[in-house]
């Protein structure tokens, strides 16, 4: 256990050394981390709650107050603070996006590995299901599903419904990607060697297939996260979010409904839109860089390893 921990630390620090120099990746990481930080410390960033109505001296609600009149980002049509809604909305948007992204990644990887490794009728079955899901347009299907599940008055929160629907419908591309990788890896000689040693399927998948595709899965997850956040915003914009827990998409929905655009209240609809762009841009930058970096072929040369040994020996002497 001790050695594997050491190795893990070594590979992590190697990774960090290269990653640090990558400007695009660092930008992405900073964007994503900043959004996560804002979501975590939301109560510290605002004296109000999203539902608090801001009132003037006469006690009337301050509706559509521009940033010059109130706070950093003004108020909405009901006199609530936009900045407060924005930081609290980060919690909802990111939670839904991350949870749905991880579910999609998990389901996609699992089905991709099963289909690719075992092949045969299982592969056929899973890939036909994938084809069907790929052919149906995502957004209308999710709309119908979320709306229908809402009607059924299940004892789960609307956000859970949203998470499950996005997560359980969005795994198709991951499954395809993982399957194609597994198909090529399982034909490689070290898998044949493992079989010749007498290893079972579980051992081969865990020790030989998974480590090869893990980088791909990590990079793909980050990319899926951005899509999941976008889809959540889309669904919420169309009115399928939880109005009691507004996300960025719900804010846009409110702004659109209450004529923020014709009222010229740009501070109501621009910030949530930019926040969505911020996070998805961060995820895409980070994901692309990770995908590029975690390719095992770019990891180093055997002479590099020997050079390292020589260096340590010289260091000792």
């Amino acid at each position: 256990m001790n050695e594997s921990w050491l190795l893990f630390k070594r590979s992590l620090s190697d990774f960090w050394r290269i990653f640090r120099r990558n400007r695009m990746g660092m930008t992405g990481a900073v964007l994503v981390l900043a959004a996560v930080m804002v979501a975590v410390i939301a109560p510290a960033l605002s004296p109000y709650t999203p539902a608090t109505v801001i009132r003037d001296e006469a006690g009337r609600g301050l509706t559509f107050a521009p940033p010059s009149v109130h706070g950093p980002l003004g108020t909405d049509d009901a006199g609530r603070d936009v900045w407060t809604q924005l930081v609290y909305g980060a919690r909802i948007s990111l939670t839904v996006g991350f949870m749905a992204g991880f579910i999609a990644m998990f389901v996609g990887s699992l089905l991709g590995i099963l289909a690719g490794y075992f092949g045969g009728w299982l592969d056929n079955l899973l890939m036909r299901v994938t084809d069907v899901l790929l052919v149906i347009p995502d957004l209308p299907l999710m709309l119908v599903l979320v709306a229908t599940l809402r009607q059924m008055e299940l004892k789960v929160s609307p956000l859970t419904v949203l998470i499950l629907v996005i997560g359980l419908l969005y795994w198709t591309s991951t499954a395809r990607l993982v399957r194609s990788q597994v198909l090529s890896i399982k034909e490689r000689q070290f898998v044949a060697r493992a079989r010749a040693i007498g290893a079972g399927h579980f051992h081969i998948i865990r020790k030989h297939i998974l480590p090869q595709i893990m980088p791909l899965i990590v990079a793909n997850t980050v990319l899926i996260l951005s899509t999941a956040i976008l889809i959540e915003s889309g669904l919420a914009f169309l009115g399928l979010g939880d109005p009691t827990q507004p996300s960025w998409g719900t804010m846009l929905n409110f702004a659109f409904d209450r004529n923020a655009i014709s009222n010229g209240a740009w501070w109501f609809y621009l910030p949530p839109g930019l926040a969505i762009v911020w996070v998805s841009l961060g995820c895409v930058l980070l994901g692309n860089v990770l995908e590029e970096m975690l390719n095992p072929r770019l990891m180093g040369h055997h002479l590099e390893g020997e050079a390292r040994v020589v260096k340590t020996e010289a260091g000792r002497g």
Partner: protein, 356 residues
């Protein structure tokens, strides 16, 4: 049974069916098959080295993969330490394939004790051709060498496992072993990687090693080292080796016995020195005539075979070597030659050879 051979292969057949089209299915045509291995028999004593020599595509690698159970044999018998192995046989017993009288071995052979694939793989190990591909790039050398122990649940104690891996690596010439434990395959050279593969194969202390062209991907300067290592392991541990190669030069150095394959059949077999000194089959003669000789004064007449190897989909009738054979006669097109004994343990399948 100390004197019984370690491995007996009788009439091993491996056909790869080609995908048949819908039309073939509708017309109920028999699917085309590639006859990769077509009736091969040999045996291997404990601690003996048998070399199987032949050109590309003659079925050498298929034999290796079938012996270790990576391929399912189409027909034939494989006995390992007196026990039957092979997937075909197990399916037969499970009733998946109808048992036809005389289809597989004799009644006596069918009642021999059987061995599970997992058990076999504990006693027989395979070395693959390409050391750059046969090691998991994301596993450390320790993990790779210890993997057979993990798979078979042996030496569960940590210290024992470390000690065994250390001794296996050192036996394979990687010293000090600890320096290699935490390194990854991409940090090693080709020769070092092949040593790791050998260490991984020897860590279970197998009785049989199947080496599929273990040196053909290595630089010439490293080949001799790896061959010496294998030879040393064979002498020290008494492990039997099936050595598959296309290079007659390494065979002379390495093998006790030699089997020459052509298109899925063994055409000549016998003690290495005897076969090399006194080749009988025209194919063996042709192969030997083109082995490079360092001394230019000793140049011999080379026999260059004409034409291509026939397609194993569509084998020639009669002796399968006759289209390329420099000395073929009319009878060669008609009848498939049987094995003829030319000397003690030396057999060949050629119509033109007179029995001793």
């Amino acid at each position: 049974m100390p004197d019984s051979p370690l491995l007996i292969v009788e009439n091993l057949v491996k056909h790869f069916p080609l995908n048949s089209s819908l039309l073939d299915l509708l017309l109920r045509r028999e699917p085309d098959v590639v006859r990769a291995v077509d009736g091969v028999s040999f045996s291997l004593a404990r601690g003996e080295v048998l070399a199987i020599v032949g050109e590309s595509g003659c079925g050498k690698t298929t034999i290796a993969r079938t012996l270790i159970g990576l391929e399912e044999e189409t027909d034939g018998t494989i006995l390992f330490g007196g026990q039957r192995i092979g997937t075909h046989e197990r399916r037969l017993r499970a009733g998946l394939i109808p048992l036809e009288a005389g289809a597989v071995g004799t009644r006596e052979q069918q009642t021999l004790p059987r061995m599970s694939l997992k058990h076999l793989r504990q006693h027989a190990q395979m070395i693959f051709q390409d050391p750059y591909e046969s090691l998991n790039p994301r596993a450390t050398i320790f993990e790779i060498v210890a993997e057979p122990l993990v798979v078979h649940g042996l030496l569960r104690k940590r210290e024992e496992r470390i000690a065994r891996v250390k001794s296996a690596l050192e036996d394979a010439g990687l010293r000090p072993a600890e320096d290699y434990f935490l390194r990854y395959p991409h940090e090693l050279s080709g020769g070092q990687r092949q040593r790791v593969v050998i260490a991984g194969a020897m860590v279970l202390e197998p009785e049989l090693l199947i080496a599929d062209e273990p040196v053909s991907m290595l630089d010439v300067s490293i080949r001799a080292e790896i061959l010496n290592l294998l030879k040393e392991l064979q002498k020290k541990r008494g492990v039997g080796i099936v050595f598959i190669t296309h290079d007659l030069g390494t065979v002379a150095y390495f093998a006790d016995r030699l089997a020459v394959m052509y298109l899925g059949r063994i055409v000549e077999s016998g003690p290495t020195a005897e076969v090399l000194r006194n080749p009988q089959h025209p194919y063996t003669k042709a192969l030997l005539s083109v082995v490079p000789v360092p001394n230019p004064r000793l140049r011999r007449e080379r026999i260059i075979l004409q034409g291509e190897t026939p397609n194993p989909l569509n084998l020639p009738g009669g002796c399968r070597f006759h289209p390329r054979c420099p000395v073929a006669v009319a009878a060669c097109k008609q009848s498939d030659p049987a094995y003829i004994r030319v000397a003690e343990g030396h057999e060949t399948a050629c119509l033109l050879v007179q029995p001793a």
